[in-house]
């Protein structure tokens, strides 16, 4: 069976983007997007855990009995979260500080468990690794853009650099987090709907052309 990497990439980043389409992992999304840098840090940490847990679970998918698969998955995920925590604490203590409680909470992040359950436990190693990678990219992109918007509006800065002295404090509050998240989901749905509509129209037009061409040829 050949794995369709193009489809996996499109699924992970656009058509089932974990944050904006599946609405998974909302807890870090809402809490950590006050700054763009936090978004990148959280996104990369989750991506790392996602890729490696997907690979391991995919390797062990025939060995793990169905009845105890959830505890087994959690155990594997927790191992990688611990690795990330210790590594970050040693190499990047600033980011470790700013993420605080949300780093150990990656263990119960819905995205990782959902991918393990619905993809890695049914597919091959390479496909699972690709799925983890692209889901992670989709998550990181969504978090970073949300963080950037909230940082610009709520603190008048981007990646920690002060832009101007004007800010709307609402956007750095938690109410602003929900508001920004909702607007992002709406805009993302609007864009993807428009694109899929266009591609559908294109397909119909192409079919029509073929059909008309056939008629002409027959005539």
């Amino acid at each position: 069976m050949k794995t369709d990497f193009k489809k996996i990439a499109k699924d992970g980043i656009i058509s089932s983007n974990p944050t904006l389409k599946l609405v998974l992992g909302t807890c870090p999304t809402l809490a950590l997007t006050t700054a763009a840098m936090n978004g990148i840090g959280m996104g990369l940490a989750v991506s790392f855990v996602l890729i490696f847990s997907n690979v391991i679970i995919s390797l062990l998918r025939k060995a793990i009995p169905k009845e105890v698969r959830i505890p087994a998955f959690i155990l594997i995920i927790a191992t990688f979260v611990t690795i990330v925590r210790l590594a970050l604490d040693y190499f990047l203590p600033d980011i470790y500080e700013s993420m605080g409680l949300y780093l150990p909470l990656i263990v119960v992040n819905c995205i990782i468990l959902a991918r393990a359950e619905s993809f890695a436990s049914k597919n091959g190693v390479l496909a699972s690794a690709a799925d983890g990678l692209f889901m992670g990219i989709g998550f990181t992109l969504a978090l970073t853009t949300m963080g950037a918007v909230r940082e610009i509006l709520g603190a008048g800065a981007i990646f920690g650099h002060k832009l101007w002295d004007f800010s709307i404090g609402f956007f750095s509050s938690s109410a602003g987090a929900f508001f920004t998240y909702a607007v992002f989901i709406a805009v993302f749905a609007l864009i993807t709907d428009k694109i899929s509509e266009k591609s559908k129209l294109k397909k119909i037009k192409a079919e029509e052309k073929d059909f008309c061409g056939e008629i002409k040829e027959n005539a």
Partner: protein
């Protein structure tokens, strides 16, 4: 003879009491407070209120134009509720707020809180309250100290400029201002529209006379808030009038808490709503040392669907179904 009979479906009763008429009445009732605000705080206050109204109306027009509604139709169906929201937003900020605060507040109130939920009558919380809280959260960094009105205290000594009377009461000290000063708003810090209580009360009486609001409910709210403060302060009755005459309690009770959309439908539900509002306001004031009327109203607005779900009107001629004895 037959031609005199008109066959038509409901509604059968015609009246001139439209949403537009009611909203214009509320605007008229807010005018005295606006005038007094301008007298006390100068032309900058007028500019803030005018900006808030202009952008509230503009927000409604922009939203409806984006939704592809023809301009003429919007003007024909325009119901002045965004004018009311704009006026309240302008009146509930102080002159220490920057010029752009009412612009953002009005746009947020009208577009996000009202229009996105479906327009007048479908909003979950009062747009003016949400706009005020939005400005309070957003622009606190740009706000300096409260400004005193141009007219000083009429009776009694000059006031301590550090704190508003609300903070004084919640700290357990009786404010230095006399009750008459508080009623007139002279020598008292506060927002543009909330300082002159007499003008607000006049507006309230006008609304009650026009039967726009039921005056009982704001009175319940104000009385419960005052009594709760008295009880919290250890049954000292000297707290009663300062508590009800300071801050935004009166403007909130008369103009904001009585919004039709965000109050329960039944009499009993309304009683619960306004009593809870009074207690919540007083307790929150005591706990946070700041003005909490808008937050209390915002919180209670969210409980209205729950109140309406559990407290229902008895249908006409309804009898309680008698419990049938279970056949053993």
């Amino acid at each position: 003879m037959e031609n005199n009979l008109i066959y038509s479906s409901s509604p059968h009763i015609k009246t001139t009491r439209t949403t537009r008429r009611i909203m214009i009445d509320v605007c008229i009732a807010l005018l005295p407070a606006t005038v007094m605000g301008v007298v006390y705080f100068g032309l900058y206050a007028l500019a803030l209120v005018a900006l808030a109204v202009a952008f509230a109306v503009a927000g409604e027009y922009i939203y409806l134009l984006i939704m592809k509604k023809p301009f003429k139709e919007i003007t024909r169906e325009f119901d002045f509720s965004s004018v009311v929201s704009g006026m309240l937003i302008g009146l509930t900020i102080g002159t220490n707020y920057p010029v752009y605060a009412p612009i953002f507040g009005s746009l947020f109130a009208v577009i996000v809180v009202k229009m996105l939920f479906g327009g007048t009558g479908k909003n979950v919380v009062n747009p003016a309250i949400a706009g005020r809280v939005f400005m309070f959260i957003s622009f606190q960094w740009a706000v300096g100290a409260w400004l005193l009105p141009a007219i000083g205290s009429v009776y009694g000594e000059t006031v301590a400029t550090s704190a508003t009377a609300v903070v004084d009461v919640s700290k357990g000290t009786v404010p230095a201002l006399s009750v008459i000063d508080m009623l007139l708003g002279t020598g008292m810090q506060g927002c543009i529209g909330e300082t002159c209580k007499l003008a607000l009360l006049a507006g309230g009486i006008y609304l009650a006379a026009r039967k726009v609001i039921n005056i009982i409910f704001p009175l319940i709210y104000i009385a419960v808030a005052g009594l709760t403060t008295t009880v919290i302060g250890g049954f000292v009755f000297a707290f009663f009038f300062p508590a009800i005459l300071s801050g935004g309690l009166i403007i909130g009770a008369i103009f904001m808490a009585t919004d039709y959309t965000t109050t329960p439908n039944t009499l009993c539900g309304n009683m619960i709503y306004f009593i809870a509002l009074g207690i919540l306001t007083a307790v929150l004031r005591y706990a946070t040392n700041m003005e909490t009327v808008s937050f209390a109203i915002l919180l209670m607005n969210l409980t209205v669907p729950l109140i309406d779900k559990f407290i229902l009107n008895k249908p006409f001629g309804y009898k309680k179904p008698q419990k049938q004895k279970e056949a053993k």
